[in-house]
Structure formats: structure tokens, C-alpha cells
């Protein structure tokens, strides 16, 4: 290996190792708490003397008053995240197809309005959103959170999907049109299959956005049976003597589904499906 290569690699490692430590440290901390007995959790050890899975047992069996609805709240999180992902996909795909492929009138305006929504921070809209949901009469109903999250996720999703669908060669639409496809058939048989990587990416984005949401979930839902696991985790801190080891265990469990989703859909995030459609 030449000296140049060695120094290049050394530089990469010099940056990479601190970044890795920086990223992994909180996760390790989380993990350490989860496998520590209550009395050792705050001990500041690098590895507990008696690692245990007891905390997981407590969480799974809902044996603490903060955890009475653990499974239900996990389900709530999942339901809200999946619903947000699906509805966002439906809305954004339809919009992107209409604007990018069917070239509907006012498409540009719609795109610009979508962009405009990002000038206002989501936190700023929390109270108006709360009022709006009150007007609709769906406060404390999970639909309020789903709709709020769809509202927040959709503009960005439309942009991503529109950019992606602009890259599909227009001749494909024309070929399909001459082959006899109606706009709906074009959408279903040509557009959707070719957009799959982008759709998965956008769906995952919306799903994780909803999964990780705290502020809106905290505002719009209040019953312990309705709230998401994220909000339930926040409630741990309501008392002075928070059970940190249980908080961290629950947190670790809460972080697993997103990790699994990332891992599963990793390969879709990379495009390449359109290779061979046209000479580029």
C-alpha cells in the first residue's frame, strides 16, 4: 500500500472512529441501563456486575404502573405510523403522478404551496392544529394524530416523488398511451412498478416521522389507552424517582422497529429499476 493510500485511510479512520463512538455511545448507554439491575443502573459502570434481563420481563409483563399499557401503546404507535405512511403515500403519489405525468393545470402552484408549508415550523402549527382538530371533533381520537402527521409528511413526500417521477422517461407514458392504456392503467401498470423504490423510501420516511413524533402525539391524544409509546416514555419523567432502567429498556424496544424497517427496506432505497428503459 502506498503512503498516499495509508494517509487517506488514516484520515478516514480519524474522522470515522470519533463519529462511530459519538453515535454508538448513547445507544450503548441505553443498552447498559436495560440490562442493569435497578440498584446498579446509575452506578456509572461500563458493564454491570450482574447483567440481567429482568427489566425486559417487567416491561413485557407490564409490571409497573408506568407500563400498564405497554403493548397497547406499542400497537398505537405502530397503527398510527403505518396509517400515516399509507395515507401519505396515497396522497403524495396521486399528486406527483397528476403533476408530473398528467401535467394538470396548477401543478406548479401546488408544488410551490407545498414548499411554502416548510417555511412554518411544525411546532408553530401545533396549537392551530389542536384547534382545528377540536373543530373537527376528533381530539383524543387517533385519527387526529394520523391526519396531522399526514399533513406534515405530505408536502415533502410530494416533492420527492415528483422529482423521482420527472426522471421517468416520458416516452414510456406515450408508448403506453399508444398501446391503449388509460391514465389509470398507466398509473397502475407502468408508473407504480417503476416508482417502487421511491415509494418505499417516502413511505418509510412518513412512517418513521409518525413513529418518532412526540409533540403532536402529546397534544392531540390524552387517554393512556390512546397515546403512543413515545408519549408514554415522556410520562416516565413525571415523577421524581423515575425508574430509569425501565425507561431505557422501553426506549430500546421503542427503537427496534425503526431499525428493523431501515434494514428491511435498505435495498429499495437504492434506485436502478429504470435501467434499460431508454438509452441514457
Amino acid at each position: 500500500m502506498s503512503l498516499r493510500k495509508v494517509t487517506a485511510e488514516a484520515k478516514l479512520l480519524l474522522i470515522g472512529i470519533p463519529v462511530l463512538i459519538w453515535t454508538m455511545l448513547p445507544i450503548y448507554h441505553l443498552f447498559l441501563f436495560a440490562i442493569s439491575p435497578k440498584e446498579q443502573a446509575m452506578g456509572g459502570l461500563l458493564w454491570p456486575d450482574h447483567p440481567t434481563l429482568h427489566n425486559f420481563e417487567v416491561v413485557f409483563k407490564q409490571q409497573h404502573h408506568y407500563l400498564n399499557f405497554f403493548w397497547l401503546q406499542m400497537w398505537n404507535s405502530l397503527l398510527i405510523a403505518v396509517a400515516t405512511g399509507l395515507i401519505t403515500l396515497m396522497v403524495a403519489t396521486g399528486a406527483a403522478f397528476a403533476i408530473s405525468r398528467l401535467k394538470v393545470r396548477g401543478g406548479r402552484l401546488a408544488m410551490n404551496l407545498a414548499l411554502l408549508t416548510y417555511f412554518i415550523p411544525a411546532a408553530f402549527l401545533a396549537v392551530p392544529m389542536y384547534k382545528t382538530m377540536g373543530v373537527y371533533g376528533i381530539l383524543n381520537n387517533q385519527w387526529s394524530l394520523i391526519l396531522a402527521m399526514v399533513t406534515i409528511a405530505t408536502p415533502y413526500s410530494i416533492w420527492v416523488l415528483k422529482q423521482a417521477s420527472d426522471k421517468l422517461p416520458f416516452e414510456l407514458d406515450e408508448a403506453a398511451k399508444i398501446d391503449g392504456a388509460s391514465p389509470l392503467q398507466l398509473f397502475r401498470l407502468v408508473y407504480l412498478p417503476l416508482m417502487t423504490p421511491s415509494l418505499v423510501a417516502v413511505g418509510t420516511y412518513a412512517l418513521l416521522l409518525a413513529w418518532n413524533e412526540y409533540l403532536y402525539a402529546f397534544l392531540l391524544l390524552s387517554s393512556e389507552r390512546d397515546i403512543t409509546l413515545g408519549v408514554a416514555l415522556g410520562n416516565f419523567l413525571a415523577a421524581d424517582d423515575s425508574p430509569w432502567e425501565l425507561l431505557m429498556t422501553t426506549g430500546l424496544l421503542y427503537a427496534l422497529p425503526p431499525a428493523a424497517i431501515y434494514y428491511t427496506f435498505k435495498r429499495y432505497m437504492v434506485g436502478g429499476l429504470t435501467a434499460g428503459a431508454v438509452k441514457s
Binding site: 422517461p169 398511451k177 399508444i178 398501446d179 391503449g180 407502468v190 429499476l273 434499460g276 428503459a277 438509452k279
Partner: protein, 355 residues
Amino acid sequence: MASVSFKNIEKSFGTTKVIHGIGFDIVDGEFVVLVGPSGCGKSTLLRMLAGLEEITGGTIAIDGRVVNDVESKDRDIAMVFQSYALYPHMTVADNMAFSLKLRKADAAMIAERVNRASKILNLDPYLKRFPRELSGGQRQRVAMGRAIVRDPKVFLFDEPLSNLDAKLRVAMRAEIKALHQRLKTTTVYVTHDQVEAMTMADRIVVMHDGRIEQIGTPLDLYDKPGNLFVAQFIGSPAMNVVNGTVRRATGRAHVEAAGAQWPLDGGPGADGQAVTYGIRPEHLTLAGSGGVPGEIIVVEPTGAETELLIKVGEEQVILRTHGRPHVNPDEKVHLTVDPANVHLFDRGTGARLTA
């Protein structure tokens, strides 16, 4: 199979008019090539026939039925695109079957049609492959296969060979022509390549700036170009042209141009008329003396033929000969012209002068 008729076709994009009243008829089974430089409106005309572009004015009829307001899919046409436009997520077989499936044709019929098309185009070994696994020429054949299975009234080709390399282009040219001779389907083919037009067409429509310059068989256009544009567009290398004045009053008739006397016969051109004198490179010959004096600039041997770039006065002309003349750059030569091969054009309008 069908006839196609364009009547007074106009097309505007916004306020820009790109096609100015075009009309011509294509008879059943004919192979017509629309040719012209970029932006001449040939593709737009084809796309209007395909139903991909609105028709601003005039009518297009297929088999006597006006199709202005008929959707693409109901016009019974098939189109081959420059970029192939194959569906990337479908196999070759599915690509070809797509239109029939949309029409809810029965499976046996689809299989039979796809089979026949793949036999004609030698695509049998590739039916299960995806477009990305094929070479450019194979993709182009799949695009043609997709058109064939439809058994349409009219085939439309939009610069189908532009994306292929030179060698493959020549091979595919012959393949498309053979395909037409076999299927005898009315075909409209757009290209900017006059060689493609010459070699493939039954009739060529030369377009320029949204107007038709001339319609005719390839050799008609070559031998009797109707105007200066067609004269210079058809043929490679292009026809030599020099601007001059007709002299018939004294001695032998000639055109005085580029400081030389270019021979004329008793044909068109009145004494004193300002003309453009045209002569194709293969109609110039080298001579020992007499004729038009010139000086060799470049000698380009291509094996079978030799092209000479020759300076005559301030003008340059190209001479093409089958032999291998022993001449060198800077050498003084003399050119002879058979007046029968001369084309005269009006200097003002560019129109061909006829007796």
C-alpha cells in the same frame, strides 16, 4: 393496412407556429420517410398522426376516417420511439404482449402473436429477459416487436436508429426495410438522416421550417431536386453550388461564376439571369486541359472512391471519382462538366429552373 391523408395541417405551440399548412397523401402499404433538419416539424407531424400532439388546424385521416379527435389507442397505429421506450419492469415477452393484454385479447392469441413477432425479429432467445439485459439493437427489435404484435394499420417510426452505432444502424436499416417488404404495412418514418431516407423510402417528404419542400421517390429527388434546399439536403457529399450569371449571347452558353465559365446546354436560364449553378460531386471529372480551372486542396481516398476538395476562384467544390487519380494538394487541375447533369436554380427564390 391503410392510407393516410394530411389536409392543410397546422400546428402552433402557444403563439409560435411550427407547421404551416401541410397536405399530402400516403397510399396503402407505402413506406414514406419524413426527412429534414432539426426543428423542421417532421417529428411534430408524426406525433400529430400518433395522437400525441393536438392538431391546431386541418385534418388527418386514416383510411378515410378523420382522426383529429380520436384517441391514440383507437387510431390503430403502433409507434417505435427513438429511445425504445420499453417498459423496464417487464420482460421482452410482456413488453410485446402489453397492448394485447390491455385490449383483453385471449391468452392463446397473445402467445401466438408474440411468438410470430419474435420469430420474425429473432427475439426467441430473449423473451424472458428484461430490457436492461439487452443490447441497443436488441432493444430496438423489441420495440419493433411491440409494434408488430398489434398488427396495426400504420407503423410510425420516430428516428428509431439515432441511438445506435453506425454499423448497427446500417444493419437495422435493412431489417426494417425487409420487415416492411414482408408485412407491407403502411409506414411513416421520421429521420434527419438523408441516407436513411434515400435507402428506405418508397417516397420521401423533405421538410424545412414547417413546410414541405418536395415530395417524391428517392431518385426523383436526387435527379430533379425542386429547389436549392432539397438539392443540398439530399445527397452526400452535398451538391456543389456556385452563384453566377447566365451568358448565352456570345460563344458557347455558360454560367459565369467564381471566375470561371461553367458549361450549359440549351436548357433553362435566360441570358443575364442571376442563377445558382449546381453540379453533383460525381458529375465533375478531371481533365488535362480546358473546362474549369481549379487547384486541389485535399485528397480523401475512401478505397472504392476518392473525393477531391478543389478550389475554383473563391469557391470550393467537391469531386468524387471511382478511380484513384494521381493528384496532390496544390496541384492545378481542370474540371469538365457534362451540361446534361447541371441543375440551375433561381438565385432569388431558390426554385429549380426548367425549360
